[in-house]
């Protein structure tokens, strides 16, 4: 017996996709003017731009489901932490450059396979946004792989940092493939992506890239979880307090 309707499921599913794009964009934007070289400043902020566009499209869609009449901005600025469904790995602080790249690799390979499937969704809007996003994610993934190889195959310092980043973030990768009630309902309607085959594909390519970079692959031990229930690390609250400051202080402010 389902505890939510199909429309509520679609709302939550869309929020998760939109929140992942929004919060990852926020994190990458923090590199603006701080990246190690100019080319990386351009690359990371370009990804952030792709992601903010994706967030706008998906949250805009979520806000129009049923008779909600909410804008993408309403959803971005007027939800509390417990109403956000982005994966935990997305909200983790940037750390050093290797850490940001490790996350980009894990997430972009995941998104590559995810949106490859979602473009065949029976929901025409999600399918269209997925087809568009897929083109962009290919560039994110190629870039992340280049850097993982370069850092892993670089100096002792760069390899140890790359290794530390992969080891630290590995426990956040299991959550990407979780299925909750919303996803299960939508999968029955051929809207959502079937996760187990995705995890296999992700594992194959990520393990290959790490092996090529001479980075040891961590054991699949305890995996962090919580975001599908809106349970986050302390980091999301700090992001939202900054991101939502203006709309909370001056509600309805426009410019």
């Amino acid at each position: 017996m389902n505890t939510i309707t199909k429309q509520q499921a679609l709302y939550k599913y869309s929020l998760r996709l939109g929140d992942n794009a929004l919060i990852h964009s926020y994190r990458l934007s923090e590199w603006c003017s701080n990246a190690p070289i100019l080319e990386e400043d351009l690359a990371l902020t370009n990804f952030a731009l792709d992601m903010i566009g994706r967030a706008q499209a998906i949250l805009g869609y979520a806000g129009q489901l049923g008779d909600m009449e909410k804008t993408a901005d309403d959803l971005a600025y007027r939800r509390g932490e417990r109403e956000y469904y982005n994966n935990l790995i997305i909200e983790m602080p940037n750390g050093d450059f290797a850490n940001t790249i490790a996350r980009l690799l894990f997430v972009s390979v995941y998104e590559f396979y995810f949106f490859s499937e979602l473009q065949n969704s029976s929901d025409p809007t999600l399918a269209a946004i997925a087809a568009k996003t897929l083109k962009e994610v290919k560039y994110h993934m190629a870039h992340a792989r280049d850097w993982v190889l370069r850092l892993g195959d670089g100096t002792d310092e760069s390899r140890s940092r790359m290794q530390a980043a992969v080891s630290a973030l590995w426990m956040y990768t299991g959550e990407l493939f979780e299925t909750d009630e919303a996803a299960a309902i939508l999968q029955d309607a051929n809207i959502a992506v079937d996760m187990p085959p995705l995890k296999e594909k992700w594992n194959a390519i990520v393990r290959q890239i790490l092996a090529d970079a001479a980075i040891a692959i961590p054991a699949d031990e305890y995996m962090q979880t919580g975001s599908s229930k809106g349970v986050h690390t302390e980091h999301l609250g700090h992001i939202l307090s900054e991101m939502q400051y203006l709309q909370r202080t001056y509600p309805e402010a426009i410019w």
């Binding site: 351009l42 903010i52 994706r54 706008q56 269209a128």
Partner: protein, 163 residues
């Protein structure tokens, strides 16, 4: 009920003068962004396909369209963004690619160039047509371009990424 005064072809021809805000040598029609014009008794609907989901030029293009048609007294006008079908660089006309090349931007390869995600493609220099070029930065000043340099004429140039 009012009969619309302009045909789809006339509207497209009016809008074809609107330049791409980021690459002003090409217009929105030859770039394939102006997807369709729907006309009925309630007015004119201009259908745009965004090049990139986060393309900041879309807002400017929307304004330009409204302004261009308002000047001709054409109303009411609605501009709609659609993601389906997804814009691809394959929609650029040959004329647009030629203009890009003369402007110093290497035009996009066919969209299948990312079918092998990790492949590095050969991008010929738009100035001397040498194929001995090297990528300097996968990302450039706008979301749609990468930065290359030609090893023969030594000039740096932008490449419009295939999409």
């Amino acid at each position: 009920m009012v009969k619309p005064k302009y045909t789809k072809e006339e509207i497209i021809s009016l809008l074809s003068v609107i330049p791409d805000p980021e690459i002003p040598v090409v217009n929105i029609y030859e770039m394939g962004m102006l997807h369709d014009v729907l006309i009925d008794e309630s007015g004119y609907e201009i259908v745009l396909t965004p090049t990139y989901t986060g393309c900041p030029a879309m807002g400017i293009i929307e304004q330009d369209i409204k302004l261009t048609l308002a000047k001709q007294g054409i109303k009411p006008v609605k501009v709609k963004l659609v993601y389906d079908p997804a814009w691809t660089t394959d929609w650029m006309t040959e004329a647009a690619k030629e203009k890009l090349s003369r402007y110093g931007i290497a035009p996009p390869l066919h969209s299948s160039c990312t079918s092998d995600v990790f492949a590095h493609n050969v991008i010929p220099c738009p100035r001397c047509h040498s194929e001995d070029t090297v990528i300097i930065s996968r990302f450039g000043a706008t979301a749609c371009k990468s930065l290359y340099q030609c090893n023969d004429c030594k000039e740096p140039f932008e490449y419009f990424k295939c999409h």
